[in-house]
């Protein structure tokens, strides 16, 4: 145990200094010989991705940047549906060109380079924590505008020319039902509410919409919000080609309303306002009832994602109390599913 910990610490020190050196040589190429790196720190570290914050300082001028990097710089398989960092950086560039608020990408690095598989983007000021965005007075104006801004941003994402996109996975509603049902059945932890939700969703499939670029995780937590509202759309790793209603519904899933259940969009706004702005920005005109089926699928997916996180504990892969505890959040999605079914039948 002690030896293992020691190795981890040494490995982290090594990678810290190695990353700083690699960033400095990149910065000197792009910002000039006087450029130096300051304040490098790791922000978060999932198993699939590292995020580092740092500054490039040249002649007293500071650029605040973010490095997104594969763990240890090595290309590893991210979660089964996640796209590569290189594709993510290409998507950010496409979204930027389409007028979606995203961080600009400054550099992309291949596996085997000094930085490993990674890219550098600008650091955007603002808040990502849902509860703060919904509660703090500084976001009061933002909250009144976010529904419209999210509608416009989603319309812009869904309008991106698919010819220009990297080769993304395709996944429509039925693909996702099949995928999550297989995962759920493999756990062999039967939950009658999920059975009813699967059966109901299969029986009430909506007519398909023309396929578009779907962000795949568009919700509070993955959006940077400042005092004026939506400042940036982050976390594109679940992007795919699919149904536009999936994105609109995902931000409506009650799990992402952070207690503000009366505001269907993210806990801050009404769906009519989002759909109006979506159509005004060139998106298909949808009615709130067009989103219901997808919201139910969203709650079911999140419930099974919670089971996946608990499975990390159950299988012995991650002994943390947090992974164990998340298994007791699955019932949140069950009550949401029942509340939705009650309205639907």
């Amino acid at each position: 145990m002690a030896i293992h910990l020691f190795r981890v610490i040494v490995a982290k020190m090594g990678s810290n200094e190695q990353i700083e050196r690699a960033l400095e040589s990149w910065a000197r190429r792009d910002f000039g010989d006087a450029a130096r790196i300051a304040d490098l720190k790791r922000l978060s570290g999932g198993a699939s991705q590292e995020t580092w914050a740092f500054e490039v300082v040249v002649a007293g001028k500071t650029s605040r940047l973010i490095l997104r990097r594969a763990p240890g710089g090595e290309a590893v398989a991210r979660s089964s549906e996640a796209i590569t960092l290189r594709m993510e950086s290409m998507l950010l560039a496409c979204a930027d060109a389409a007028g979606v608020p995203v961080p600009g990408v400054l550099g992309v690095f291949e596996p085997g380079s000094d930085l490993g598989e990674s890219f550098i983007m600008r650091r955007i000021d603002g808040e990502t924590i849902g509860r703060k965005i919904l509660r703090d007075a500084v976001y009061e104006t933002a909250r009144t505008q976010l529904s419209e801004q999210c509608g416009a941003a989603l319309a812009a994402i869904h309008a991106i020319d698919m010819e220009k996109l990297p080769d993304l996975p395709r996944s429509d509603g039925m693909d996702q039902i099949r995928k999550y049902e297989t995962i759920y059945r493999n756990f062999d932890l039967p939950r009658p509410v999920f059975e009813l939700a699967f059966a109901w969703l299969k029986e009430h499939q909506p007519a398909p919409q023309p396929a578009v670029l779907v962000h795949g995780d568009f919700r509070l937590g993955n959006l940077i919000v400042d005092a004026q509202g939506l400042a940036s759309v982050l976390d594109w790793e679940l992007a795919h080609i699919g149904d536009p209603r999936e994105d609109i519904a995902w931000i409506c899933v009650n799990s992402w309303r952070f207690g503000q259940i009366e505001n269907r969009v993210g806990g801050f706004g009404q769906l009519d306002a989002l759909l109006e702005a979506y159509a005004a920005a060139g998106g298909t005109r949808f009615e709130p009832r067009d989103i219901d089926w997808w919201e139910m699928l969203g709650s079911l997916k999140w419930g099974i994602m919670c089971m996946i996180m608990y499975e990390a504990y159950r299988s012995g892969g991650d002994p943390s109390v947090e992974r164990a505890a998340i298994g007791r959040r699955v019932s949140e999605t069950e009550i949401d599913l029942l509340n939705l079914l009650e309205r639907a039948v």
Binding site: P190, R191, P192, V193, E195, L196, F198, A199, W200, N254, R257, G259, Q260, I261, S320, V321, E322, A324, A325, R328, R329, S331, E332, E334, I335, D336, L338, N339, L341, E342, V345
Partner: protein, 124 residues
């Protein structure tokens, strides 16, 4: 066998230790996990208090729904219920099914996450 201290007393004692002694000395990630641990123990206290009665009434509803014998196993009945929903024998319109699922889920959430917004919506 002895039951003093009871399971409830033991769990409550550990929770007090985390909340009052350990957590205030922790920072960062460890402080976060201490908060999660304390919440888990609160869940466990609710479980000890509420689960026996909640399961007994769940079992009774399932016996009625499935026409199962008095000594039927709860897990086996839930498997049976899942199979019947899956093969289409039961659906949302089956008399008593929806009410059973809602009552069971409300009991589960009262233990798991009693402050969840969806629970309040279901009860109103």
């Amino acid at each position: 066998m002895h039951d003093a201290p009871s399971p409830t007393e033991l769990v409550a004692a550990v929770k007090s230790f985390i909340d009052d002694a350990a957590a205030p000395q922790l920072t960062g990630h460890a402080a976060f996990h201490a908060r999660v641990a304390s919440n888990v123990l609160a869940t466990l206290l609710r479980e000890l208090e509420q689960r026996p009665a909640a399961e007994a009434s769940e079992a009774e509803r399932l016996r009625n729904l499935l026409d199962a014998p008095e000594n039927a196993d709860l897990a086996a009945m839930n498997r049976d219920l899942c199979a019947r929903i899956r093969d289409g024998q039961f659906d949302a319109a089956t008399p008593g099914l929806f009410k059973h699922l809602k009552t069971t889920t409300i009991s589960q959430l009262a233990i798991d996450q009693p402050n969840y917004s969806g629970l309040k919506a279901a009860l109103s």
